[in-house]
Symmetry: C2
Subunit: 275 residues, 2 copies
């Protein structure tokens, strides 16, 4: 077996990187598909948000984190952050020796699998929308895309208003605004932000039934499983292990994490990567 392959003879060590807590939904999805693995999660919480920073700065930050994770002996690095994927995926790939998977292409691939009309709407943060990364990824797959910035959804999720009438009303307004501009034939909505899987059940009630919802976290997890040669539905006896690293307060991360991950975390480790 060549060095380049990701299939390991040992239990795989998979790192997930994000600027904050959102990537925990990606971690959760991957661990659901590949439970027989050791997970390292890195949240660059002292330097978030990445969305307001330049490409060069985001690439530098992400590479620092990627090298830190590589030194811990990982088999694969997942960029569980739409902004870092949009701005710095190729820089990160160039900086480390392990396979690197971003969240944008898996989401776009999944959209291409299920769409008939090739007309999509993307919900994401203002930063991700401004990068047009989803629009480009979907255009390469033959899509016409309407991109809709949804700046209130992240703060609503972080407030914990997951099943809240206000969140439903806001999501409905965004959906109506998007459909006023998007093609009538739109048959897929791509969730281009790692916070949004948490409100997927709520979105399902708001989004017209003929529009399928693609969750990038879930799609990324499927790509990771395939890359590692894990069969869908394979459920080994082993349970995943987790280590968490953050660059800012471990306390705040510990408080927010269960919302995204579905279980409480302890032993969050603080890392200082400098300014």
């Amino acid at each position: 077996m060549s060095q380049a392959s990701t299939k390991t003879t040992h239990r795989p060590r998979i790192a997930v990187f994000d600027s904050g807590v959102g990537g925990l939904t990606v971690l959760r999805a991957i661990a659901g598909q590949v439970p027989d693995a050791d997970y390292l999660y890195f949240g660059d919480t002292a330097r978030l948000p990445y969305g307001t920073k330049s490409r060069e700065t985001v690439a530098r930050y992400a590479i620092e984190a990627a090298l830190f994770l590589q030194d811990l002996g990982i088999d694969m690095l997942v960029i569980g952050c739409n902004t870092a994927t949009a701005l710095a995926l190729y820089d990160i790939k160039g900086a480390v020796d392990v396979p690197v998977i971003g969240v944008i292409d898996p989401g776009a691939d999944r959209a291409a699998e299920i769409s008939r009309s090739r007309e999509a709407v993307v919900f994401a943060t203002e930063a991700t929308i401004s990068s047009h990364a989803y629009q480009r990824a979907l255009a390469r797959r033959g899509f016409a895309t309407h991109e809709k910035a949804c700046p209130l959804l992240v703060p609503l999720v972080e407030e914990g208003w997951i099943e809240h009438p206000v969140t439903e009303q806001v999501a409905r307004i965004y959906m109506i605004e998007a459909l006023r501009v998007a093609s009538m034939n739109t048959d897929v909505l791509v969730l281009g932000c790692t916070h949004y899987p948490l409100i997927r059940p709520l979105l399902r009630r708001v989004v017209p039934q003929k529009i399928a919802i693609v969750d990038s976290a879930e799609s990324t997890a499927q790509v990771v499983a395939k890359e590692l040669g894990v069969a869908p539905g394979a459920q080994p006896n082993a349970l995943p292990s987790y280590r968490f690293f953050v660059t800012d307060s471990t306390e705040k991360f510990r408080r927010m994490a269960p919302l995204f991950l579905g279980f409480p975390v302890d032993g969050v480790e603080h890392v200082d990567l400098g300014g």
Copy 2:
């Protein structure tokens, strides 16, 4: 007239500093009280939000901006930013030679003028609440204070939902949550965030009538006018002039500014203060 006095024989040059656009409500309030002045506004938009950063970092950023403004020949510096006031007012005062006015003490003074019960609620961002700067400022004036973090109000204002049913619903929820914990005798609500004056009419509908609303921007403007010896209601023929400096995209600032300022801006100047 001594150097220390702020009363100038020339038309005063007043600088207002903030991490972003919120301080524009402070600028607007001051220009309303002191129209016969030249205004410089500095938004450190490349390095926001300050709320997630350490005291040392916020102080360093704010001092860099303060020195930049001082070099342009100002008579007074207003820190139109609750986080910078809470964390770095005394550092900034120590670094420049002109009078420096923050937004917290004027709001607390105004609350002390109008409250009978000395029981207050403060609405602010999570960062300002965590600093307990308002609680301390109000405690020095004999108040018992309930501090309520309102993380959704800034994104709602920045979305432009100033008179929107969702914003009203969110404000009502925050008010109910605050009053469930605060003293029954609370008779003043201090708006401890420079974004909130924009939704003051909406808040007035949501907040019980017996509770007066103190707007820090307005209170700060009164202090500035008094310091400059401008009589309340004095309306000279001259109009204010404005210059705007930002450290990030001038385009985004130009787009957001009218919402906060009440008129369109042009000629926004980009400044690079480094990382």
